[in-house]
Symmetry: C2
Subunit: 129 residues, 2 copies
Amino acid sequence: MSLRPGIAFLADCPALLAMEIIASKWSMVTLFALTDGPLRHGELVELSGGISRKVLTQTLRRLQANGLVERQAYAEAPPRVEYSLTDLGRTLEEPIRMLTAWARENGEAVVTFREAAQAARAGSVNRTV
Amino acid sequence: MSLRPGIAFLADCPALLAMEIIASKWSMVTLFALTDGPLRHGELVELSGGISRKVLTQTLRRLQANGLVERQAYAEAPPRVEYSLTDLGRTLEEPIRMLTAWARENGEAVVTFREAAQAARAGSVNRTV
DNA sequence: TCCGAAGGTTACCTAGAGGTACCTGATAGC
DNA sequence: GCTATCAGGTACCTCTAGGTAACCTTCGGA
């Protein structure tokens, strides 16, 4: 890992750890959904607007393995399973709230910029070729 | 926009937009590194502790395309290129700071939990087979 | 004349995220 | 008996993020 001191702000790297946990497309979405309270598998699928059941399961397993989410299975039929944030998971509520708030406030600006840039690229291609 | 109140928080989905921007392994790291001021390509490579030059370029291009990062090239030899946050990019400073602060405070707990869980899995395998 | 520095690009490869489709297994309703 | 529900598991596929290694360009210096 070559910790050259002074440089290495990222070698021990809180940011990398955060990314490792969060950087799958659906982790944050799932955690966010759970901030309101426990949810069942099926509810999470509906809420997340697009996640497949397989991927939701994978995501939950990963979050479980990191101690952020708890799984409560009830021996009923049909089976009932509830997922909730652990205490550790709840410490992520604030950062997640900030990120989604940021997205709500600035999402439009990003999309606008992106489309303008694409249009510019397309235009310059048309003109220069 | 289908805001079924309570349900559809993800249908138009600020969280998904946030993830789209952030969820590459190095985007947050790069943005975080730039919060202290403009940096050159080579400086970013060193600071980020592990990113390859190719991937850094890709990451910067993507951030540029989303309007979060600016590229300033100076016509010198050898060439000098500086990257900095745009105004829009600077609006992400706070959320990123919160996430990295979270990682700094809770990273150890996550790693501890993960290792304990792995040990438990390994143990149960040894015993039950 | 060749080398090195800076900031790339390109070709090629791998791992894994994410998706679809279909299977299980217990029960409840018809 | 047949079917639906719920929470998965499994097989199989694709796509892309990320990595390595090599090459390019421009200049100043030995």
